[in-house]
Structure formats: C-alpha cells, structure tokens
Symmetry: C2
C-alpha cells in the first residue's frame, strides 16, 4: 500500500478497487458485485464500511442496488437524444410530439399521462419568460408525465396564457390535431424562434419518485420558450429529464 492510498479512508479504498474493476472490464455492465458481507470480509472491514463503499459508487452512478438481489454494475444507456430539430416544421408535420417521434424511432411504446390541467399562478421564472403577471392566476399549467415502455422518462410542465387558453382545447387533455402547437397556431402564434435554457441538478424527492430515480442520477432541466413571428413568447415549458436516459443536441449557424 502506498502512502497515497493509506491516507485514504478504507471505504474509499474499497470503492476505488471496485471502480477500477469496473473500468478495467473485470466487472461488466449487469454483473453482480460481491455482497456487502463478502466485501467486508475480503477487505477486513466492517459491513458498514463495505456498505459505505457501495454507496459511494451508487452516488457516482456506477452501480445500482436492488433489495434482496444484490448490487449490479449499471448499464450505460442513453436512449433519448433530443435534437434542436425536434421543433422543426418537418417533424411537427408528422403530428407527433418530439417525444412520440423519438420513442417511435427507437421502437418503444410511448405513453403520456396528463395528471393535471389547471389555471394557476405561474412560477417566477415562467412569468418572466411568458411575460405575464407573476401574482395572478394568469396561466394554464399542463403537467405531463412521459413513459417509454412504461418506464418514466420525463416530466413536462407546459404554461400558456390563461386568456388565450380559456375555453379552447388547450384546457383539455386531448388537445386536438398537431397538439397544443396546432391550437396556438390557430390563435395566431406561429413558432418562429425558440430559446432553451439548460441546467443540471439533483432531483427533488418528488421527482425522484415519479421518475423512479435512484441515488447518483441527476436531472436535466430545460426551460423552453417559444416565440412567434412577432417575437412574442406564447408558450413556456419546463422539461425535467432523467439524465441517464437523455441527451440534448443543438445544431446552429454561427452569426
């Protein structure tokens, strides 16, 4: 043991050993790690210490623990790649939402739940971008949950102006041909420019529950604004994606 290694806590040493076993290919995706009790014995540590090592790896997103079964090396899979062309006219002409398009491309069965559609007071960031009053019930909030083969993939909150949505199919779960963008176009808003603001963070416990996220998987949050032919923002959506399943791609000309 070198001095550098001995300076590290035992749980780190065990975690590093497992990590390099994974990186070297000695342990492959889907393989089962030794049990916590076995690790403890092998490294001459207490079970809690071995457990802490496994927790470190889980936190890094390398492994996943399954109660009663064991701890497994996580499969690297990034299924959904949302390109900036997801908003293009060509794709919208198919009548499918970006999510349905992507699911179809992958041969997965998409499902979309609409847990709620309601008039609400907008969050501050949404109010700013949609240019509506922040302290009134000035928006309609459509919350959608997206599944691929029954696995939860993303949570989307869409906001449109209440005065425009009132009495239209925008208040209904089934929003008609071409989805909500079809309705918004009928209201005179042709999507001309889009603005996507992207951050990454850890999920809230609520999001972790909905998305079925274990420790070690962040979310990608995209705050999307649609601007019409006059530069007027007419729709804002917050996409919360599982980061292990989702990638984003933007292609654009340099000005």
């Amino acid at each position: 043991m070198t001095s550098a290694e001995s300076a590290q806590p035992a749980s780190r040493r065990i975690a590093d050993a497992l990590r390099s076993a994974i990186e070297s290919g000695e342990l492959r995706a889907g393989d089962k790690l030794p049990s916590e009790r076995a690790l403890a014995e092998r490294y001459g540590a207490a079970r809690n210490t071995a457990r802490e090592a496994v927790r470190l790896l889980a936190e890094q997103g390398l492994v996943i623990a399954q109660h009663g079964r064991g701890v497994f090396v996580r499969e690297p899979r990034r299924l959904f790649r949302f390109g900036s062309d997801r908003y293009s006219l060509a794709n919208r002409a198919t009548g499918l939402t970006p999510f349905r398009l992507e699911a179809q491309r992958q041969g997965k069965v998409p499902r979309i739940d609409v847990p709620s559609i309601a008039r609400e007071v907008p969050p501050r960031d949404v109010a700013e971008r949609l240019d509506v009053p922040p302290n009134q019930e000035s928006v309609v909030h459509r919350e959608n949950h997206y599944f691929a083969d029954d696995e939860p993939v993303q949570i989307v909150s869409t906001y449109v102006r209440w005065d425009e949505a009132q009495g239209t199919l925008l208040m209904e779960a089934r929003s008609g041909p071409n989805g909500i963008y079809g309705r918004l176009e009928e209201l005179g808003h042709i999507m001309t420019n889009i603005r996507d603001e992207i951050i990454a963070r850890m999920p809230t416990p609520h999001e972790a529950t909905i998305l079925g996220l274990q420790s070690g998987i962040p979310v990608l949050e995209v705050l999307h604004t649609s601007l019409d032919q006059d530069g007027v923002p007419f729709e804002v959506s917050r996409y919360v994606h599982r980061a292990d399943l989702t990638g984003l791609k933007y292609e654009l000309p340099v000005q």
Copy 2:
C-alpha cells in the same frame, strides 16, 4: 405521526423535516444546521441516523458540510450562463474566449491553466466527430482548467487534427491573437456551424477533485463540434462544467 410518515425510516423523517425548514425559509441560505449530535438528541435517534439524514440532504445538493465548522444551507448561485451567441463573430471579435467574456461581465478575475498540450490517440466519440482515425495519435489534445476568482469552474479538452496543428501555435499554451480559432481560421477553417451535444452526469472522482465538488453536484458535459464553411468538422471540445455554477442557453430559429 401519520401512517404515511411512520412508514418512512427515521433518517428520511429527519431529512424531510430539515428540507421543509429550508423550503419554508425557516432556514435560509448560509444558515447553519443543528449539529449532528444535536439533531440526534432532538429527534431521539442515534448520531449515525441524524448523520444519514444530513447525508441525504447533501446528496440532493441542499446543504454542504464543512469539517469542524458545521453543515450549512447551500447558497443558490448560478453564475455562468453560456449562451449560443458565445460562438458569434461579434463576441469573437473582442479577442476574448467565451469564458473570459463571461467572467468579465461578472467582474470576476478569470484564470486559465493549461496543464497539458500533447499529441494523443483521440477518445472514440471525439474521433467520430472530428472524422479522424481512432487508433492513431491523430489529434492534439489541449487540456484547460478555468478558474473565476481562483475558484475552479470548468475543465475543457480541445481536440484538433495533428496534421494541421503540427508546428503551429496550436501546440503552444499561448496560441496567439483570437486564440485557437484565430489559428484555425488561418488554416482555412471559418466557423460556420456548430453542434453541441449535452448530457448531465455525476463527476468522476478526478473531476470532483479538480472542480472542488462535494457530494450532490452533477456536471454538465458539452461535446462541441465546430464545422467550417464546407461542413468539415475542424475542432471538437469537451466542456465539463460544474452544474451548480453553470447554465446554458440556446436561441435558434425554427426551420
């Protein structure tokens, strides 16, 4: 205690209590949480259980522990907002890199370390995008570390073709006026289109060390490709950002 609450482990209960104290504003950003020992006593649990509760909050990025001082509510700060205009000619004309521009805008002192510039075998994803052989030393890899007021913010690995970089300032830390894009322009590559591929993940231990990241902070990884007037990719960069400090923004027309 309701049945829903009692079904939860004690550590979760303590964590939830602290979380709602934070969300309600009872505990504000920068405030110190009760010590682990105090929490244990207050909730009638062992210190390890209180400790586990704090760990849960840290994993969610809500609090930060400081050895010998205490556990503090994390300040929400997102300083760097890289817009898609960071590649624009107007900004490049300033002679500043996007990072220097952004730092300047915020009144921070930028520092850029160049730990290594070397001919290397490219990673597979880079080779694909730069259209070079993946099994030869076909690229020059420039690794940069970026600091704002001496705080590490991002790690950037830039790759250009070895046959083009050979013998030019692209092999030097000081790459001359307008940076590497200036040199690449002299080689006939005018940046015309860009492609950014974005994912979020937890940092590797190495990245966590360089960026000074504690538990609960993911990274944003941007794989950037520059395409010239002929659609030829001439430069690929991998940006690894601290997600707590960085946001990305893309504005583009709908086709």
